[in-house]
């Protein structure tokens, strides 16, 4: 992997700050097999690296409070915008394996030594798979509410389930058919923040407005989220949650799992009881009964303290 020139246009400056938020200290591009990945660092360039991965439909800027806390604990925190997210390239194909490959490219560009992996939601699951594929590249794994578990299926008859699957498939294919023409809806930063509140109902408007100033671009007719309009929340495929859980039992590095227990739209609804049977020996499970899925945003100090203590 080669590194490209530092992106000049990748330093958005939100009009208003947010308490405790700091933009990254350094930015660079990583070439992940031809895909340009926007990569960010907080903390001293001389400090030991730590890899930090965001969740689906997020971007590295959503770590602007959490990452500086880890950096203050003595780490060089390296994060990136997943392909199609934030300032990274919009590409033709998105897949789980491609996200894992991009993560490895960012890691390769940072160090060849084993480092701690910390990931939220999808980022936690992606880094879990990277640990499983490359145990020699990780020293620790912290998964922030990114452990999949079975969702209760609605109690419906078989023919109704068939109809639901057919509708889901048609909807996905229809969305693919429109993807070439799709564009994010423009608005003011406040409007974008209010729209995002539908997915982040527990997060304050001031925070959502702050991250809109990073995750959106200003066009002539207003602000638009930068995320590729071809991406769609949810989806379907052959993957089973229990395959991930079963593999978790064999994780080869010290493991800290953190769950936010208040259910919400973007969360995975995973309970401690669903996770415990699959924890590898010596693993730690910490829960926040008064936090939702974005536990590192709702409780940045507490979560950072847990992570720093775990890495000590």
């Amino acid at each position: 992997m080669s590194e490209l020139a530092t992106p000049a246009a990748a330093r958005p400056a939100p009009e208003d700050g947010y308490p405790g938020a700091h933009r990254p200290d350094r930015r660079r591009w990583v070439d992940a097999w031809g895909v340009r990945i926007a990569t960010y660092e907080w903390g001293s360039a001389e400090a030991p690296p730590l890899l930090l991965a965001h969740g689906g439909f997020d971007f590295a800027g959503t770590f602007d409070v959490f990452a500086p806390l880890l950096a203050a604990g003595g780490w060089r925190v390296v994060s990136w915008d997943h392909r199609g997210h934030g300032d990274s390239a919009h590409v033709a194909l998105y897949s789980w394996d491609a996200d894992v490959r991009d993560a490895l490219a960012v890691l390769d560009s940072t160090t060849r030594r084993p480092v701690p992996f910390v990931g939220h939601s999808k980022g936690g699951a992606v880094l879990t798979q990277l640990v499983e594929a490359c145990p020699h590249r990780a020293s620790h794994l912290v998964n922030l509410d990114g452990i999949p578990a079975r969702r209760p299926l609605p109690d419906v008859a078989d023919h109704e389930r068939t109809r639901m699957l057919a509708a889901e498939l048609s909807g996905w294919l229809d969305q693919r058919a429109r993807a070439a023409e799709k564009e994010r809806r423009p608005g003011t930063l406040d409007e974008l923040a209010r729209r995002r509140a539908r997915m982040n109902p527990r997060l304050p408007h001031a925070w959502l407005r702050y991250i809109a100033g990073i995750g959106a671009r200003q066009d002539a007719d207003g602000w638009r989220w930068k995320i590729d309009p071809a991406l769609r929340f949810g989806g379907f495929g052959p993957w089973r949650f229990d395959w991930s859980l079963q593999r978790m039992a064999g994780l080869p590095v010290p493991f800290l799992a953190i769950l936010g227990l208040v259910p919400e739209e973007m969360g995975w609804g995973t309970s401690p009881d669903a996770v415990r049977p699959y924890l590898p020996p010596g693993a730690r499970l910490e829960t926040f009964g008064d936090s939702g899925h974005f536990v590192h945003i709702e409780k940045p100090q507490e979560v950072a303290a847990l992570v720093l203590d775990f890495l000590r």
Binding site: G34, A166, A180
Partner: protein, 216 residues
């Protein structure tokens, strides 16, 4: 052989016409690493209508995207792009194309007028359960097409039998024709064996299957 370029999101797909004529189209879906044949294969010459072949993303004259990320479901959407262009079609899929034909026959049961699943490269995929995780990387200097990422990723994608049969059941229940799916293949990966055992799916020789769909 002529072709048109169809747009699927950021990818231009080549749809080749192998035989002219009115009536319902036969749509060929090639195997992994293949492309639409240059001429109409002899075994398909009995089809009374026009015959088309789609080059999947990363194959033949279709675009080769950057950085991989292939799934069988995305190729289903490739095939749906061709199906929307044609209106309706009978599908003949080889190898990987057979699996994609199954997915599309379930997802677009009202427009797919039967599908024939044949032997060919990429029929098995990665098997019924995920293999040990690895980071799939390729030699960027490798000649493409076919995209080396397609070869690597679509020979590892997991194909659980009950996932495959959910598409077969959609095809059978929603298409209203019998057989909704015809299997003209010798190789029997677990997904195909499970589909073969579903009601409404028949094992037929290619010529028999085509003759039946041509009459329907």
């Amino acid at each position: 052989m002529s072709h048109v370029l169809l747009r699927h999101s950021k990818v231009k797909l080549a749809l080749h016409q192998l035989a002219p004529g009115p009536g319902r189209a036969l749509l060929l879906l090639h195997g992994l690493g293949e492309r639409t044949p240059a001429r109409l294969p002899e075994e398909l010459a009995s089809w009374p209508g026009p015959v088309f072949g789609l080059d999947f993303t990363g194959h033949g004259l279709s675009d080769v995207p950057t950085g991989g990320g292939y799934t069988a479901e995305i190729l289903m959407a490739d095939a749906d792009t061709a199906l929307r262009h044609l209106g309706e079609a009978t599908l003949v899929g080889r190898g990987l194309g057979a699996y994609v034909a199954l997915l599309l026959a379930g997802a677009r049961a009202e427009r797919v007028r039967g599908a024939v699943l044949r032997d060919g490269p990429g029929l098995a995929g990665g098997g019924p359960r995920p293999p040990s995780p690895t980071v799939v990387a390729v030699d960027r200097a490798a000649v493409a097409p076919p995209d080396p990422f397609a070869l690597a990723e679509l020979s590892r994608d997991v194909r659980p039998p009950d996932y495959a049969t959910s598409f077969a059941r959609l095809a059978v229940q929603l298409s209203g024709r019998a057989p909704a799916l015809s299997i003209a293949a010798v190789e029997r990966p677990p997904w195909l064996q499970a589909v073969a055992e579903e009601p409404g799916v028949e094992e037929l020789r290619l010529a028999e299957a085509l003759a039946g769909y041509a009459r329907a």
